[in-house]
């Protein structure tokens, strides 16, 4: 299989990552522990877009103060959708970033960079690049944490069972 084909075929890993991150942030209601690093707080803010590969309504957007906590978010996953795009707040120690992330491409949007304003160009740009680098490293660490779980059959089965329990606590059966 060619690289382009693999990129296309495995794009679901990005939307699954966002879905896992959302579920983790809602299930654990606390920081995500990272091996060998400081824990990371993740919060889903204002807008979330869910997408399914099939069905009559394939895209669903939720807007509000805390769409991640809404029953509609769990309902979307229950219907077979994954998180395609979301606005996220990430906090680690004294640093905080808000941005949107598109799962299938890993494109970042509207990143609010925690760097002081009004500094000389070199110093200001240097600090902004440092803050960006740290955000990208954090997101990479979170993705690697997800991937280590995702590619381990037993651990992923346990994680998936937790997420399924979270999206449908009653364990009920569809109509």
């Amino acid at each position: 299989m060619g690289l382009l084909e693999q990129i296309e075929q495995k794009a679901f890993l990005g939307t699954e990552f966002l879905t896992w991150l959302w579920a983790r942030s809602e299930m654990d209601e606390g920081p995500i522990e990272i091996e060998g690093d400081e824990s990371i707080e993740v919060e889903f803010l204002k807008t979330m877009t869910f997408e399914a590969q099939y069905g009559e309504a394939t895209v669903q957007s939720l807007k509000g103060e805390a769409p991640g906590a809404a029953a509609e978010a769990r309902a979307a996953v229950l219907e077979g959708k994954t998180v395609k795009r979301a606005k996220i707040k990430v906090v680690q120690s004294e640093m905080e970033w808000t941005f949107s992330l598109r799962g299938d491409t890993f494109d970042f949007g509207s990143i609010a960079i925690p760097a002081p304003k009004g500094l000389p160009f070199d110093e200001g740009t240097g600090l902004r690049l440092d803050a960006l680098e740290r955000l990208f490293a954090l997101m990479n660490t979170l993705f690697e944490t997800f991937l280590a779980l995702r590619l381990d059959e037993d651990r992923w089965a346990d994680e998936l069972a937790r997420i399924r329990q979270f999206v449908e606590p009653s364990g009920g059966v569809a109509d």
Partner: protein, 219 residues
């Protein structure tokens, strides 16, 4: 949304390979060769692309020390495009064709004549038109090969990749989920598992594609 101020939207890339040891000598020449120059309308150019200094976007003669910030090389990519309003273009074209027919006392013009008039009108209008300009920035970490580009459309990113490749003779790949996963799986020694992985079902319900029958069925 630039790297140097405000909020930022971007796609991340990984540059394949490192700049040569003498990049301080070679980069200025390479950047100068591919610097921004206005579209040469008289040669039929309706679009132009090239590097400018991100801190002074009208400056195309770039001093490396001004755009090199520690490990980061920052550059801005300026793209100018001259677009003619199609209704105005057609109106002017018919006007000129009428004029020529009257001058030549003919009812019809040949295909070559029509084509020549079309080019003449296009040139005449393009000369008067101010190009629309977009500017995107890139920051390339020369040490770890990460590159931030402030554009996210696939078409733009592809053009940027090609232009970067032409300028620096280095290829790059977008850090999309598979590329990230590929690198991480090598580190985790899970390469085979990555190739075999299939989409997960987060829902406890069995979802059956509509095309196959019912939308949902109980497990």
């Amino acid at each position: 949304m630039p790297i140097t101020m405000g909020s930022l939207s971007c796609r991340l890339f990984r540059v394949d390979g490192k700049p040569s040891a003498n990049f301080r000598d070679t980069f200025p020449k390479q950047i100068h060769r591919y610097r921004y120059q206005p579209p040469r309308v008289d040669d039929g150019e309706m679009r132009s692309i090239g590097w400018v200094n991100p801190r002074r976007i009208l400056q195309t003669d770039i001093d490396l020390d001004q755009v090199l910030m520690g490990e980061w090389l920052t550059l801005a990519l300026r793209i100018d495009k001259i677009a003619l309003n199609s209704r105005l273009f057609k109106a002017r074209l018919y006007e000129v064709m009428d004029q020529v027919r009257k001058e030549k006392h003919r009812d019809r013009l040949s295909r070559d004549e029509r084509s020549a008039i079309q080019n003449q009108v296009q040139l005449e209008m393009a000369r008067k038109q101010t190009p629309s300009t977009i500017i995107h920035e890139m920051a390339w970490n020369l040490k770890d090969s990460t590159l931030i580009f402030t554009g996210t459309s696939d078409k733009l990113c592809l053009e940027f990749q090609e232009f970067f490749n032409e300028t620096f003779d280095l290829a790059m790949e977008p850090l999309c989920p598979f590329i990230r996963a590929d690198k991480a799986s090598q580190k985790l020694k899970l390469g085979r598992e990555l190739l075999a992985v299939q989409p997960a079902a987060f829902s406890p319900r069995t979802i059956i594609p509509v095309a196959l029958g019912h939308a949902e069925e109980g497990e």
